[in-house]
Symmetry: C2
């Protein structure tokens, strides 16, 4: 598993030349997931696209879990390069870049959840985020937790905005129906949504600014403390 994600490929000696490579398999999977969603990615489906037999894939990848892991790290890719910026601006562009990556491959929201083995690209994203906070005066754990908060926010907004399925309208209509018939049970929610006036869709930036405000407050407090001591 680690070997796969980190590209440790032992050189081949005897035997027929492989007709396909791990990268080609992953790319085929990505292609399918991009168009038809992650659920459409089955061993059979990937094999048909190459085209080889389904069991041929198992010569290059131990199972579907590992295939999805390789697909994910390959699809998310490395974070884009940017000129050096102050930490706040750096984190903001970092967050928008991450959102863009999720927008490009919506199925990454499904495949990169929970405790799992991380690939090099995903780790690079984390490293790049933490780098922005290196000179902030926060402790290592605080830097880590800060990036975690930002990541979860970006993920959540992406999940809310990026409409994977076509049930979008149906869900919204159902919610509207419920909120009109059962408004009495959810007074605060109803009030908030009626004054909200529909889809402002600025959730990403709003939450981002709040989190960054909170971080800035902590960083400033630490700086004051350091200069005073």
């Amino acid at each position: 598993m680690t070997e796969l994600l980190w590209g440790r490929q032992q050189q081949r000696s005897r035997g027929p030349k492989p007709a396909i490579t791990l990268t080609e398999i992953a790319e085929a999977g990505i292609r399918i997931a991009d168009i038809e969603g992650l659920d459409a990615v089955s061993m059979q489906r990937v094999a048909d696209d190459l085209p080889v037999t389904k069991m041929a894939l198992y010569r290059h990848v131990p199972g579907k879990t590992e295939l999805v892991a390789v697909m994910s790290d390959l699809a998310i890719g490395p974070p884009p390069e940017h000129p050096a910026q102050p930490w706040r601006q750096a984190l903001k562009t970092w967050a928008f870049d991450l959102y863009a990556a999720f927008a490009k491959h919506p199925w990454l929201l499904q495949s990169t959840i929970g405790r799992r083995l991380l690939g090099p690209n995903e780790l690079t994203w984390m490293d790049r985020g933490i780098r922005a906070l290196t000179d902030s005066g926060l402790s290592g754990g605080e830097q880590f937790d800060s990036i975690l908060v930002l990541t979860s926010h970006v993920r959540n907004i992406a999940q809310q905005t990026i409409t994977t399925g076509l049930t979008e309208e149906h869900i919204n209509r159902a919610l509207a129906d419920i909120l009109t018939t059962e408004a009495a049970r959810f007074p605060s929610l109803t009030a908030a949504l009626t004054t909200a006036g529909g889809s402002e869709n600025q959730g990403l930036e709003f939450g981002l600014d709040r989190i960054l405000d909170g971080l800035e407050a902590l960083i400033n407090a630490r700086k004051d403390c350091a200069s005073a001591g």
Copy 2:
């Protein structure tokens, strides 16, 4: 679907008395998911526990998707009651309550992701969260987005801390191995993790405080603006 989640049950007329109810089915599913995880919940497995035939379930629920939805709303339950508090403290206890709910039924982290039809309990959670911000001076959309940010943070921390599988140790060891052999590729991340000193596990409160700090700053800014105008 809406009828199921919202308990609209039409009264029965002719025919044999139902041997099982929707609630019993959902409870059986919850029981299985709590012990063996959400993946162990199959129609066959749920039916065996009741015990009835698998196809009997389809008389009460249209499909597995709907069953999981009913299970989820039933398992998360209504948010606990608390005496009135200032908004910040209210949101903090609300967040901890939500975390506790996820800790009680870890599979809720899997089953309640993405755009979906919300049940009454889940909506009550949202309503209760927004209620804390009703008199904050924030707009309805801002109140909504604030709760969204808090929810995503709690979810993310729960996913990080609550160990569903037994691969925990294996993953950590693999990550440690990689960070030692490939430390040069991830300098900032390595530095942050080495100074962090392992599992402080205060991620929930840290992020919570930062987000609440950010919200407080916005609320205060609005108040100043209002009093000045």
